[in-house]
Amino acid sequence: MTAPLASEPSLWVLFRGQLRRDLKLAFGQPSELANPLAFFVVVITLFPLGVSPEPGVLSGMAPGVLWIAALLATLLGLEALFRRDRDDGTLEQMVLRAQPLYLPVVARMLAHWMVTGLPLTLLAPLLGGMLNLAPEARLPLMLGLALGTPVLVLLGGVGAALTVGLRTGGVLLALLVLPLFVPVLILGVSAAELASSGLDPAGPLLWLAAGASFAITAVPFAIAAALRIGVETG
């Protein structure tokens, strides 16, 4: 046999392999895939029932309600993000072997976003209709979620990586990352609100875009570092 390791390892193979594995894992458990989405739908359904079915009241609070529900749904999927990988030892293999660790971490977060943030973004305008969201606010809401959910997933990933070594990380994780979600929430809601009152939502959306580009480039390094610590403690 030739010496395959003599050739340079391929970074693309590393990235693609991790993405493929994580998507297979996600689609291998349809219930876990559906849970955050079902949660999103149910929480939003509760508002007309619990607060007021009045269209005027609902449309006023629609952007905020949709965003908060999306935030909580994102949070719901985070705890399991690295937990199972840690338990079966695949996490330590990843930390040990992947060179650089940055790439599989990006792939992992991308896969997670594809099964949480992306469906939330696509569902939001539909549920917005249920809350009487102004039609002109639909697109800014979706754009905001499309730019904001990657940030949420990545920031949440840092929390999940930091708490991966702990037995009961759930509540701690929420306390750790929810404050970090606040700027995203404010920008996302204000984009939708500006649009529904007939103003230009470009400002907050551009801020979200800037935040997303920064998060995508920088945060995976933090996640990788936190995962290293998590593996060392176990």
């Binding site: 193979v13 590393l14 594995r21 079966d88 293999q93 990843m94 599989p104 593996v231």
Partner: protein, 206 residues
């Protein structure tokens, strides 16, 4: 004399503020295997994790081929199998190849599974396999081309294996030794017959 593959000197290691060993030296050359023995809690696993770079609380020098240890130059099989139960054996092994950025064809996965006697189990999710079969999937990593690295660290590789599995794993180890690799492993069972094998005690009997 050839340069040692693994060179440990003056290693002092703590776990949970308890000193496990101090002044520990170990040199393993190419084509040498060392069986690490010692009572439970003596620090065998911790030593392996130290070498793999997954236990930072140590003092002393650990070098792999004269350089600090890098994860891509060793293969670590720990207590946790490194195999995802929801994925099939083939998917798991493919992922291990991908992790190393290996560009070759998928046929090596089938070959590795055949080698460990799991022909035909490629597509079964690993959690549906028996404990021994799962162990074999984890050990099939030793038969992948990405296992051709200077050092193997194997923590209890023989647990849950039947007689045939034991032979199989020692065969894989013998192959690696023949290829010039070094192996450090722990086991409580009598060690298999391997060329260049020595035993090293840590803890009580040292």
């Amino acid at each position: 004399m050839s340069e040692p593959v693994l060179d440990i000197s003056g290693l002092r290691c703590e776990r949970d503020d308890r000193e496990l060993f101090a002044g520990f030296d170990l040199h393993i050359g190419p084509a040498e295997a060392v069986q690490l023995r010692g009572p439970n809690g003596a620090g065998k696993t911790t030593l392996l994790r130290c070498i793999a770079g997954m236990h930072p609380e140590y003092e002393g020098r650990i070098e792999l081929l004269g350089a600090p240890v890098a994860g891509e130059r060793l293969l670590f099989v720990g207590h946790r199998p490194g195999i995802s139960g929801l994925l099939s054996a083939a998917d798991n092994l493919r992922w291990h190849l991908d992790l190393a950025g290996w560009r070759g064809a998928d046929s090596v996965v089938t070959a590795a599974l055949t080698r460990v006697g799991l022909t035909g189990y490629d597509d079964v999710p690993c959690q549906q396999l028996s404990a021994g079969q799962q162990r074999r999937v984890a050990l099939a990593r030793l038969a992948l081309p990405t296992a051709e690295v200077p050092l193997w660290l194997l923590d209890e590789p023989f647990t849950a294996l039947d007689e045939a599995g034991l032979k199989l794993v020692s065969g894989l180890m013998a192959d690696r030794l023949a290829g010039g690799g070094a192996i450090l492993f722990t086991t409580h069972q009598p060690a298999p017959e391997l060329p260049g094998l020595s035993t090293r005690w840590i803890g009580a009997a040292a």
